[in-house]
Symmetry: C2
Subunit: 255 residues, 2 copies
């Protein structure tokens, strides 16, 4: 399990599943500078090593690998690993360095740890399809498992960045999941076929409130991440919402 | 040993060394489309599967891995592996896709074969430092060995592309090695310290003849490939020469 620490129940559900599936469970904790673009929250990203190590152990980790940036990016480091088309959608449009940074660090972690199975959360759905593509393209000998999003009781997808939210922002942030659910209901119950109509419906579920801004809220092909016009097969509903200076993402697969 | 086939004594010297060092020797033969730029010789690159297999076996290969392009680059393939600064020198300046293509295919072959040691020829010196950087940066668990250039009795570095040369071009092509030797003599015997002077000397050793064109002929730092002004430590003398439509490279390490 590659993680950036600040572990929450989402991470712990991955570790518990890995514990059930494997003889040895390795969790890495590394806030990866390569995947933050200038102006993003690298410096203030929550770091809680001791607490994380204890939580990881309790959930079933045998080893916690906690390198520092100088270990991972040694002097003269100059290699990039990039996935093409899949990174040109959703989060890739605004977070320029994100997926290149993710790919390079995951490639490194896979070489260092040599896992049989690696676990990822569905919240970062695009990350999962990109890593899957990298693994396939580079013949990496690892299986990938994606586990469901864990939510708080209001439906907010758990994220280390939820720590940044004020109480008021939390209430507004929940609208992201509500919008995705409204989209799903339109597709499942009301048999909506027009993807743009579903997108408009989802947008209308986000309140016009100070500091709330939709970055994207889309119907996507779950494999290519392209935006279909017609909904004729399973789709991914995916959104990114800003609440103040905090960026939240969420998604639902509609089968 | 990753090769593009059309095996010559240079390749065979690698296979024989691998045979001495290892229990199992795997040779791959794959003319890698990803490393040819448009207009280069991908289509006419010499292919000689049956002869190559026999030669590889005789030299000590236990297995010959001969994938086709559709095996290596499956539908939807979209991952790139790039090394930075080191590719901005020498062959990287004119052959835009070369080192990206080399890195991605070598990364794939390393994952498929999982070698303990991989062998490369010094003729592709820049390739070797780039792959070494990739291996270091991505924590790949493989040792790399570089073996000396094998030459014909006139001094021409063996290359699969020498097959393209006419008799007359062969004679002119030898001037590349002569130029490098003249550079080495200036440094070793006459203690030349000015890199530009050595470069001019090397250039003057290439005859002005129809179809002969110097692409580069340089003094380089063997680690960074930068061009030093002063020669104060070991250097690489490296050249690329066109003889008609055939591009030849060669180099000498001066310690």
């Amino acid at each position: 399990m590659p993680t950036m620490g600040a572990l929450h129940e989402g991470h712990l559900s991955l570790i518990r599943q890995a514990r059930r599936d494997n003889d040895i469970v390795v969790v890495s904790i590394f806030v990866n500078p390569a995947q933050f673009s200038p102006g993003e929250d690298y410096a203030r990203y929550p770091r809680s090593g001791q607490r994380d190590r204890a939580l990881a152990r309790q959930a079933g980790a045998d080893m916690v690998f906690e390198p520092n940036a100088a270990d991972m990016y040694t002097r003269g480091f100059q290699t990039s690993v990039e996935v093409g088309k899949l990174t040109k959608h959703l989060c890739g449009l605004t977070r320029a360095r994100l997926f290149g940074g993710v790919c390079v660090v995951v490639a490194k972690l896979f070489e260092i740890v040599r896992p049989d199975i690696a676990y990822f959360g569905q919240k970062d759905y695009q990350q999962f399809v990109i890593i899957s593509q990298m693994v396939r393209d580079l013949n990496m000998d690892v299986r990938l498992k994606m586990l469901p999003i864990v939510r708080d009781r209001d439906g907010l997808a758990l994220s280390s960045r939820n720590q940044y939210l004020t109480g008021g922002q939390c209430k507004l942030a929940i609208s992201l999941y509500q919008a995705l659910r409204a989209g799903r209901a339109a597709i499942k119950k009301r048999k909506a076929k027009n993807a743009r109509t579903v997108e408009r419906l989802m947008h209308s579920a986000i309140p016009h409130a100070s500091g709330i801004r939709i970055e994207y809220l889309q119907v996507c092909d779950p494999d290519t991440l392209d935006r279909p016009r017609k909904i004729t097969r399973p789709v991914l509903l995916a959104g990114a919402l800003w609440a103040g200076k905090t960026r939240l993402i969420d998604n639902i697969l509609v089968r």
